[in-house]
Structure formats: C-alpha cells, structure tokens
Amino acid sequence: MRPLLLHLAAMAAGLLGAFPVPAQEPVPVATLDSNTILIGQQVRLDLSVEYRADGGTVNIQWPLIADTLTAEVPVLHDSHVDTILPEREKDPFLFRQVRTLTITSWDPGYWAIPPFAFVINGDTVLTGPLLLTVNTVAVDTTKAIRDIKEIYSVPFSLLDWLREHWPWVAGGLVAAALLTALFVVLYKRARRPKPVAPPAPPQPVHLRTLLALEALRQQQLWQQGRHKEYHSELTGILRAYIEERFAVPAMERTTDELLAGLRLSAMPRSQQERLEAVLRLADMVKFAKWNTLPAENEQALAAAVQLVQETADAPTHAPLA
C-alpha cells in the first residue's frame, strides 16, 4: 500500500509540473533614490512595471504625470517610458517598463508623494505612497545677514564656446571654403587668355593717304571759299604721308627744311619738284592771303594724288652711294 501511495504522489507531482502555473500579475513599483534631501536638491524617482509576455498581451496604461507631483514637488525632468529586458539571457519573456522622474522641492517639510495609478489589463493598480523629507540649510542666526553672493564670472573657455556655437563656426568655415573656391574659379577664368581675333593688317599708308585726299575733295572746301582750310588740310595730309612713307620728320619742319630733308630721301626728283609746287602754293594761301584759281586748287590735289601713287612702291630710303 505504501509504495502505491508513493507512486500516486509522484504522478501527481509530475502532472503538476507538466501544466503551466498562471503568471504573477504585474505590480508597479515607485522608489526614491533618497527620501531625504536638502532644499532644492534633486532626487530621482523610478517607476517600473515588470511583466511577462509569454502569457498573452499585457496592456499597461501609465498615469499622467504633469509638471508637478504635488504643489511642493515639481518635476524637473521626465525620461518617459522605456521597455527593457532585465534578464535577456535567462528569461527572454520578462519585460520591464521603466520611467525616471527627476524631482526636487523648494519648500522644507515632509511631503507625501501620492501613489501612481496604473491601469493593467483593465485593472487599476496603485504603487505605494512615498514620503520625501526636505530639509533646509541650518542658519546661524547669531551672525548678521549677508547679501547674496556676487555673480561668478566664469573664465572663458574656447572649448565651451565652440560647444555652444559650433553650428555657426562650421557654417562660417563652409561658407569661407565656398567663397574661396568661387574666387579661385573666377580668378582662373579671368586669367585664362581670351581668344583674341588677329588684328586686321594695317592699311598701307598710300591707300590711307589716297582715301584722305578723296575725302578732302568731297568736302568741297575751296568751292565754299575756304581756300586756306583746303590747302592746310592738303599739305597736312601730304606731310603725314611723307613722314610715314620716307621717315622724314615733316610736321615740325618748314617748307624749306622739308624739301632740304627730302633731297637725301628716295623720293624721285620730279616728285620733289611737284611737292614743292604744292607746298609753296599752300604757303602763299595760308600766310599771304593768296586766293587761288579753281584750276590751281584742282591741280594741287591732282599733283598730291599723283605724288602718292607714284611713290607708293618706291624704296623708303635712298640707296647708298
């Protein structure tokens, strides 16, 4: 009989082990890291709910926490809810929701922190109440009242300043880098030799002179009675031609000096005589109020044109003897 009883007991024990035991209901916990603080000192209030997730969904609603827990206990910081696995290796189905509040109090006394109401799977579960003792600083009333301390001047620290202003510094550096790059690009572009069109070949002096003489003819100066102007222009064109064509300074020389200078030039003798006739006539008109006949005016221009045409291909300098 006794072995049978033992056997039945063993079977009962085996059956009990084979069926899962219902999980423990989640219980919220609220703890203070210190129950006693000095006035204004900060203290941490940890809220947590531990539960298993292998038994189905657990619905946990946290209490609403405003700026203060009570009128004397303000909340300085709220970490909000975080879910962690406290024993990941051993029990991967065990979860814990945690929330940390940083609180303080500016009023000395004993302040009760009321229980926090959690709604877990539709049931309201309360944490235990907490008591926070806030002590004030001991004041020596035998001494005189002193003024508050002056404002401390914190020594400047570049590191601190950079920590605070690093976005501006970084932005400035980036902007400076961009501007430098832009400047370099523009500078290189400006330095790059621009393609220049090849200059047009200079017009031969005799062609320019002939054009100037033709322009003078078309102005019809002597026909308007402007004889002096006509001959001044005519001799001016011729002098410029001689200066460029034969390299004889002509603009700063008198008629005599110019003719003397041309004697050593390559200008043919016949052309020198023709030039002399034009210059002498012009001198009379310019300096002696001489008025020429129309034929003389036309002849002077024709002589100038002929002189230019016939000396266009002559050598610049006289051949060496």
């Binding site: 700063e252 008198t254 008629t255 005599d256 310019k286 300096f287 002696a288 109020k289």
Partner: protein, 338 residues
C-alpha cells in the same frame, strides 16, 4: 594765281607787297657794302639788320677779334649815322655815358655836355665789365629813348641802336646782367669763328698792300625810320601768331607740348616780351627777304636769337652741361609748323 577777292584785303596786301619790294631794295645794298669789310659772319650782319629794322637792340657774345666792332662801325658808315663806341670798365660812371653838367667860368653858368650815348649807333663793348648803375643808365636810355641830365631831358637821335658785346671768357671782375635787363635786348647773337676759307680771305684782306676798301653811304637815316614803319605793316597770319605763342609757351610749360624731359631743365621760360620781339623780328626778317608777309621760316630764323637770353636753366641743366640752344632746338623740332 590771284589775290583774295575781297577788294580791301587783296589791294592792301598787293600794295604792301609792292611797297616792300621797292623799299627793301636797300637791304641788298647794305649787305653788299658790309661784305666789303666783313668776311663771313653773314648771320650777324643779318641779325644786325633785323634789329635795326625792328627798332630793337642786339647783344653779341663771342670771342675777341670776331669783327663785332667793325660790323657796327661799318653799318653806321653805310647808313650815314653817328657812331659811338663805349668801352665799359669797372671805373666807368653813369655820367661818362649819358653826359653831365659842366660849369663854364666865362658865362658863369652850367652847360650840358652830352655823353657818347647821344649817337645813333652805340657799341657798348664788354657791357658786363661796368657796375650795375652804369649798365642801368644805358638800359634806361635804351628803353626810354631819352636821357635826363640835370633838370633837362634830351631825346636820343633816331634811329637808335645799341649793340652790346659780352666776352664769354675772362669772367673775373664782371657784373653779369640780370635777366630783367637782358630781356630788354631784342636779340642775343652768339658768334662763332669763321670757316677756313673765310679766314684766308680775312688774312688777305688785312695784310695786303692795298688800302681798306671804303664803304659807301647807301641809305639815309630817314629811310631806316620809314622802313621800320613798313616792317610793322608786314602781314602776319593768325596761324603764325599761334605758332609763335606755341613756341614761347613750350619754353614755359614743356610738358604741355610733349617735352617732359625739358621740365626739369628750364627754371623760367620766355616772357611776353619774347613773343612780341619774335613777331617783330619775324616781320623784319620777312622784310629783309623782300616779302610782305611772314612765313614760318622767318619765325624759325629769328627764334633762337630771341629766346637764347630769355630762358633760364636749372642747376640740373647746368650740371649736365645742357645749353639753351639745345633746348630751343628741341622746342622747334617738336612744335608743329602751321
């Protein structure tokens, strides 16, 4: 070719040209007579005539023995006028020049004794050897054409021409003429030695057995006075006037005429009197060439002699041995001829 159609202008210039052609014939005669005694130095003779016709005075600078005295003495013989030669010395007094009051015991009164300045042609020899007060007396007579002795003022005879000489060597014990006084001379002519052929003629002329060839009077003083009036009537176109002004202005502000290199060399340029004398000298030069109008050649011929004593050189120019004639040459080669 014909003269301008405006009757007044053409007739005037035609008539003027004809008159000058006729009146200036004596120039060749004077030139011919001068060449009887003066060998070479044609430029000096030409400038003497220009100064005489332009009613100016002339300063000659040259070594001794270059016929300076002979030239003006011969000119006075040719023109038939009085001639005085005054040797300027350190002990000369103004009274020795202009004259003084002399007491006459017989009449018991002072009488005026005129000095050698009362002559038509004056040769002021080595003018820089006399003190400033004597120079000043002569220059005042040149300017005013009259002299005051005692309480009387006496006009100098016409034509009146002063030819002053200066010796470029032996500068010790001299009194250099200040710029304000040299400015009163119309021309300053620098004489050079004669050429070899000319010097041979001089030797023959002065060492031969024959007597010195006498010069003839070919013109009367009144003819010179009349000619001076004609010289002032010689036509000068406004282009020539502008040319003269440009040249004188270039000596004052060379940078305005592309002559920047002269700026540091010139301390002062030609005065307005330089422009006046250049215009007058150009007219006289045109007259001697028997023309009734001035051409640029006349201006260029007279320009160096008018400007030579009117341009001041800086210390820098003197240190670099730059001569005034070089500056004038650069100015003439830069200013555009009309």
């Amino acid at each position: 070719m014909e003269l301008e159609s405006t009757p007044t202008a053409s007739d005037t210039l035609r008539a003027l040209n004809a008159r000058i052609q006729e009146a200036s014939s004596f120039v060749d005669l004077i030139d011919g007579e001068m060449q009887k005694t003066i060998v070479g130095q044609k430029d000096m003779v030409q400038k003497l005539l220009v100064a005489l016709l332009a009613d100016g005075h002339i300063m000659l600078e040259g070594m001794p023995g270059l016929a300076k005295t002979l030239a003006i003495k011969t000119l006075s013989e040719v023109v038939a006028v009085g001639f005085s030669r005054i040797q300027f010395t350190p002990d000369l007094l103004p009274a020795d020049l202009v004259g003084t009051m002399v007491y006459s015991p017989r009449s018991e009164e002072f009488t005026v004794k005129k000095g050698p300045v009362f002559s038509n042609f004056i040769l002021a020899d080595e003018i820089n050897r006399a003190p400033a007060k004597v120079q000043s007396a002569l220059l005042e007579a040149m300017q005013e054409r009259q002299v005051t002795i005692g309480s009387g003022t006496y006009k100098l005879p016409e034509p009146f021409l002063v030819m002053a000489t200066m010796n470029p060597v032996e500068q010790e014990g001299t009194y250099p003429l200040p710029e304000a006084q040299t400015d009163r001379f119309m021309l300053k002519v620098v004489l050079d030695y004669p050429r070899k052929e000319e010097e041979r003629s001089i030797i023959r002329q002065n060492t031969g057995a024959g007597a010195r060839i006498p010069v003839q009077k070919v013109i009367q003083p009144q003819d010179i006075i009349n000619a001076r009036q004609l010289v002032r009537e010689v036509y000068m176109d406004e282009k020539i006037e502008r040319y003269i002004v440009d040249i004188v202005h270039a000596t004052r502000k060379p940078a305005d005429h592309r002559l920047n290199e002269l700026t540091s060399l010139i301390s002062f340029g030609g005065s307005p009197r330089a422009s006046i004398y250049m215009a007058l000298g150009a007219k006289a030069h045109a007259f001697t060439k028997r023309r009734g109008y001035v051409i640029p050649e006349d201006v260029r011929a007279i320009c160096p002699d008018v400007l030579r004593h009117r341009i001041g050189l800086t210390y820098e120019a003197e240190a670099e041995n730059v001569r005034v004639d070089e500056i004038i040459g650069k100015v003439l080669n830069t200013v555009e001829v009309p």
